[in-house]
Amino acid sequence: MKLKLDIVKNRFIFLALSAILLTPGIIAMIYSTVTYPTHTPLKVGIDYTGGTTLQYGVKQDVTNEKLSSVRDDLQKGGIDNPYLQIININSQDTDLKSILSIRTKFIDEKSTDQEIITNIVSKDFEGASLVQVDSVGPTLGSELFKNSMIALSLALLGIVAYLTFRFQFNYALAAILGLVHDTIFVLGVFSILGLFYNVQIDALFVTAVLTVIGFSVHDTIVVFDRVRENLKYYGKKMSFGEIMNSSINQTLARSINTSVTTLITLLALYFLGGVTTRDFVLAMILGIFIGTYSSIFFCSTLIDIWEDKKNSSAPAIAG
């Protein structure tokens, strides 16, 4: 029953594993920043770029051929670079089969683009109805982004301050690095998804990242709390590495069980829940997976390395 992990002995393996997990995403983000016209590490939706999304409820199945013919018609009609997407809804309550979402540049009230698009869509799909319009002005995006960043930075500072007060600064630093580690992983995966599957991030995605951050710190603290307690009782009998190892192993069942229970709920939401929340739930699934990994293998490894540095630079104590 006892699963014994020797984190301390294999610490550089785990750091390397972290690097392997993070690198593809970082590469994708750099590539995206260079190549996207928005110069963002992820493919951003209209929440951050501005633009208009028109969504039409469609009663027919939408094939890829049909989709590209609509796209051609739109471009002939003078709509630049429309971005089309099909969301299957298979609703039992309505006769709508799918939603055709068309994203264009921001349509202001002088423009007749909306009518043009509606005409084209109704020609190609009989009985299509405009079910939703989303318009975001171009200036808003940067503002939203800036505000989220300020809030995020202050939240991080708050966590550092609290953990420094309750633990020590290096624990706080490790927790924050773990959190950065997890965030980069999730952002990286979505950057890759953006490159290959056109997944765009919106304001909801930012919320998912915040959720991940909360979970990540939560997980890390449980391990650190055990380290703190064990240090108190065994600090004189055992080396820091041994304490770290036994703390991780003592909290291992808890770490895994908590993640499993949360993942169960999220997986159910992912496979059975609504389509529009799917990316959002995916971000949380990735985050909870990596958050558990980092609290066991990454944050503790950092602390252990720092403690070793501290001890090797201090004069050795006999006994």
């Binding site: 809804i89 919320t207 710190v217 307690e229 069980n257 609504g274």
Partner: protein, 434 residues
């Protein structure tokens, strides 16, 4: 044991109160779940004057104030383009009322009579709505009509005193949005900084007076604004998706409960009951406050369920350790709770710190998330510490551990290769290091 029973009945009462609240109160769902109205406002300054970013900032501020007066949470006022505001109002039963609040200016000004070319006219005095501290709704003691009481700020009080001193014996007119409301004759200088607007001969209806109060308190629009576009946003998630998410949530939660019962056995079942109570309490709280549930809010809710389960898992893992170390059931349960408390407390505190900051600074989507998560975390601490512990004590408190299997332990694990050090309750709670 007596205290435990009192606690038990207190929990029963909380559960009943929660169920009643859930049945009685409606659930507030956000715009992204049920749809709502989306309005676009455009600044239309007189004489086609340039709309400056400053003007728009204050227009946005004023509109936000007014939207907040509607008492609907998760409202969004965003700029779109150079001179427009997008206002999203979820679940507005009377859209026309909302619209009336938004575009309407609230220009209050006091005017004095002048003779020009032999005709009596009203001339602006420079005393306006900007000089107000606040407006209140009240009724006239003598005729029972609704009136609007005005309180001036320091500067306004001085201006008003000077003005009324000059105008003794003459009428002074109060104009609201360019319409004369009343023109009382000044009998003596008014230095107290208070004035009253009555609706003239026919008086105000209560709605009229209340709207004027709200508009005055929200502040005048710095630039006239018109609603140039209005549409009702269809649900992003849709009623269909809400139904799907409910099924998914229920199935997910069901699996979690089965997992808990299988892994932790008897305590797991207790945790399942506590989890149901937790869910009921939280949902009742959301309805009672009320919190508007959005997609982001639901995410906060799910995460807090995760954290509530986590608290139980932490406690049970510790209790199992204590049992392995050969403690009696009663001591093991108590130490399990005490030792797990620091972990639960510290991890939840950081969550609450984060939520507070996000709530203060975030956009309305983030606010909804932060609020539900913070409430959820606080309720989960109560649930794990109080409800689970109470049930554990009531069921196992007096007995001996005759059958380790009910805790998911094997007999040979007890006392095997294990050492534990007594934790002092206080020290464990505050995580003090020697």
């Amino acid at each position: 044991m007596k205290n435990k029973l009192i606690m038990f009945w207190a929990i029963v009462i909380i559960v009943i109160a929660s169920i009643v609240t859930i049945c009685v109160k409606p659930t507030k769902l956000g715009l992204d779940l049920v749809g709502g109205s989306r309005l676009v406002l455009e600044a239309q300054p007189a004489n086609n004057a340039q709309v400056t970013p400053d003007m728009m900032s204050s227009l946005q501020f004023a509109i936000e104030n007014r939207v907040n007066k509607l008492g609907v949470s998760e409202t969004v006022v965003q700029r779109a383009g150079e001179k427009r505001l997008v206002v999203e109002i979820p679940d507005v039963s009377d859209l026309n009322q909302a619209k009336a609040y938004l575009g309407e200016t609230a220009e209050l000004d006091f005017r004095k009579p002048v003779m020009r070319n032999g005709e009596a006219e009203w001339e602006a005095t420079g005393l306006t709505g900007k000089d107000l501290d606040r407006a209140n709704l009240s009724s006239n003691a003598t005729n029972g009509q609704w009136v609007v009481d005005l309180e001036f700020n320091a500067e306004g009080t001085k201006k008003f005193a000077d003005l009324t001193k000059k105008l003794v014996g003459q009428p002074m007119a109060i104009f609201f949005n360019g319409e004369m409301q009343s023109a009382p004759v000044i009998r003596e200088p008014i230095t107290g900084g208070r004035a009253q607007i009555s609706g003239g001969d026919q008086g105000f209806s209560v709605e009229e007076a209340k709207k004027m109060v709200d508009l005055l308190n929200a502040g005048a629009l710095p630039v006239p604004a018109k609603i140039i576009e209005e549409n009702t946003v269809g649900p992003t998630l849709g009623a269909d998706s809400i139904a799907k998410s409910k099924v998914a949530g229920a199935i997910g939660l069901g699996f979690v409960m089965v997992f808990m019962a299988l892994y932790y056995r008897a305590p797991g079942l207790i945790a399942d009951v506590a989890l149901i109570i937790y869910g009921l309490m939280l949902f009742a709280l959301f309805k009672a406050i009320p919190v508007t549930l959005t997609l982001a809010g639901i995410a906060g809710f799910i995460l807090s369920i995760g954290m509530a389960v986590d608290a139980n898992i932490l406690i049970f893992e510790r209790t199992k350790e204590e049992l392995r170390a050969g403690r009696t059931l009663f001591t093991a349960i108590n130490s399990g709770f005490d030792r797990a408390f620091t972990s639960i407390f510290d991890s939840n505190m950081t969550t609450i710190i984060t939520c507070t900051i996000l709530y203060c600074l975030g956009t309305s989507i983030v606010k909804g998330f932060a609020l539900t998560l913070a409430i959820g975390v606080m309720v989960s601490m109560f649930s794990a510490i109080t409800i689970t512990k109470n049930f554990m004590h009531l069921i196992f408190g007096t007995g001996k551990l005759k059958n380790p299997a009910i805790f998911g332990l094997r007999a040979e694990e007890i006392n095997a290769e294990y050492q534990a050090v007594e934790t002092k309750r206080e020290k464990a709670k505050f995580g003090i290091l020697d």
